[in-house]
């Protein structure tokens, strides 16, 4: 792959780098330029995945929204975002100027909302979406979709009817994931992101009691998501984009060995905004060493 880097294809798109910036871990992307040169963006960042975007602006959840756990991070952001229209107007033009593929991560409370989001994007030049059917931090929609294969079928069928671009579905690690993956394939999705965060909980103070229920990300979950990618890649023909605890090139390489073809860097961005460059370089080095070994 190191050699064919410039032609990594997922669905109808090709990417210069297999490393994507995961949804919600680089906000709306407006500060990419502060941490990368344009050259670095073009070289290292295969795609920028937007924060989950909804029809209307969302304020997100009240604090606490974060807690650290051993080698993990719980977040309960609750999809704070300015809504798809504001995003298209205010943020998208700047992002486009970076010449990096932009994947729109979409959040609908219902199938109908998802379809309405896609209708809005049809009026634009947007060619890539990731359906977030797996957010553990919202009262409606989100992870509930991933529990119901029938709803997922209806959703993807509807989206596919009106959207011919890159259609990625981001699954929850919880629930009937094998069945949901099969349905995504049947209904014509182009790729799967495996996986979103794991429902988790932490207690921040005892008196008064303060708890957070949210999604667990980071290195703690990597062995779990690695297992899922391994199982799924044997069952599904769709290309898998791995997401879960990728902090080093080794992590990505391990996902590659079990079948993933692209990688999302999430929590790592929160530790170091330039993490993706290090991860990319480590990965390429491992790829080269490994190809030599298997000759």
């Amino acid at each position: 792959m190191a050699g064919e880097r410039s032609t990594l294809k997922v669905g109808p798109l090709s990417f210069r780098s297999p490393f994507f910036l995961a949804s919600g871990t680089w906000g709306l992307g407006d500060s990419l330029e502060r941490y990368f040169t344009e050259e670095e963006i073009r070289t290292y960042i295969g795609a920028f995945v937007t924060k989950g975007l909804s029809l209307e602006p969302m304020e997100g959840n009240p604090p606490p929204r974060l807690a650290e756990t051993p080698c993990g991070l719980i977040n309960s952001i609750g999809l704070e975002n300015p809504g798809i229209k504001v995003f298209l107007e205010k943020y998208y033009p700047l992002l486009k100027s970076y010449e990096v593929p932009i994947i729109f991560n979409l959040h609908g409370k219902t199938v109908e909302e998802f379809l309405a989001l896609v209708q809005i994007l049809k009026e634009t030049d947007v060619r890539s979406i990731e359906l977030n059917i797996s957010c553990p931090n919202v009262a409606e929609g989100g992870i509930a979709f991933s529990q119901s294969p029938e709803t997922v079928a209806r959703l993807i069928r509807g989206v596919r009817e009106s959207f011919s671009g890159l259609l990625v579905v981001k699954l929850s690690p919880i629930g009937p994931i094998m069945e949901v993956a099969r349905i995504c394939e049947e209904e014509g999705a182009d790729a799967l992101t495996i996986a979103n965060t794991y429902p988790a909980m932490a207690i921040l103070s005892y008196s008064p009691l303060s708890i957070i229920k949210g999604g667990l990300s980071g290195p703690a979950i990597k062995p779990l998501t690695l297992r899922l990618v391994y199982e799924l890649s044997q069952k599904s023909k769709l290309p898998i984009i791995a997401s879960g605890g990728i902090l080093t090139g080794r992590d990505a390489f391990e996902y590659y060995l079990v079948g993933a073809r692209a990688f999302q860097v999430g929590t790592a961005n929160l530790i170091d905004p330039r993490a993706v460059i290090r991860i990319y370089n480590e990965f390429v080095e491992l790829m080269e060493r490994y190809e030599r070994l298997s000759d």
């Binding site: 604090p63 704070e80 170091d272 905004p273």
Partner: protein, 255 residues
């Protein structure tokens, strides 16, 4: 991320430490008072996962100091670091203290909240120092660290301890209140526990003066990416502490 060499890491009291780092001087010149950095351990260990934020306590040339209190895993680990080891950091992050704060200026510190005020004092025009007063309170005498440093600026200082072991007995906001009543202060910049900040906010409203609160909450990115560090905004919505703060106008926060 940049590297920092640990020059010393000294316990000033049971739980309060002074960390002295050597950093690149060009990088150092970018820090302004009120900004912070996130410190990462340089040893592949992933726990704690997220680098913790610390305010710049003092800075001269390439010598950057941090004053910190041990409260949990990250600060415990930091307290075990010793001279000669290397750390990594990201910064400067956050907005500096507002510029040209109207004088007379009251600095109100609860415990280790005092940390960032010294860098401000280092940078203030010397002529302003006589119009600055530090209100500094802790639970007990031994936590009133770095007094000599603050005295060296020649500013007015009033101390308070909850147990009365040094200075006024009671809360630091009690002494601040007296001065506000006497109209001796135009602006307050406050940093300390949530309860103290609430009280400062009340006092500022009651006495119609401007107050800024340097706030604290758990941060993940510190760079505005994750939207995790929210502080409710008066009238609805949220501040993101790492981007909009850590210093926020008291009248605009809803705490």
């Amino acid at each position: 991320m940049d590297s920092a060499l640990v020059l010393s890491n000294e316990a000033l009291s049971k739980n309060i430490y002074l960390l002295t780092l050597h950093i690149d001087s060009q990088k150092a010149s970018k820090f302004k008072p009120g900004q912070f950095l996130k410190i990462l351990f340089d040893d592949q260990r992933l726990d704690p996962l997220i680098p913790r934020p610390y305010t710049v306590h003092t800075l001269s040339d390439n010598r950057l100091q941090i004053l910190y209190q041990v409260v949990g895993k990250g600060t415990t680990a930091l307290s075990k670091v010793i001279a000669g080891q290397v750390l990594r950091f990201l910064g400067p992050l956050g907005k500096p203290f507002p510029e040209d704060l109207p004088l007379p200026l009251g600095l109100c510190a609860g415990g280790v909240g005092v940390a960032g005020f010294s860098f401000l004092l280092q940078k203030l025009p010397p002529s302003h120092l006589k119009s600055v007063k530090l209100y500094y309170g802790t639970k007990t005498k031994e936590d009133l660290v770095r007094l000599e440093l603050f005295e060296s600026f020649g500013i007015d200082i009033e101390l308070a301890t909850e147990d009365g072991s040094l200075g006024n007995k009671g809360f630091v906001t009690d002494i601040l209140e007296k001065d506000l009543k006497r109209q001796g202060i135009s602006t307050v910049l406050a940093c300390g526990p949530r309860g103290m900040l609430k009280r400062v906010k009340e006092l500022a409203e009651r006495h119609s003066i401007k107050a800024y609160l340097v706030m604290d909450t758990f941060l993940a990115c510190g760079t505005g990416f994750c939207k995790g560090c929210v502080i409710p905004r008066k009238g609805g919505g949220f501040f993101h502490l790492c981007e909009d703060g850590p210093t926020l106008p008291a009248e605009q926060v809803d705490i």
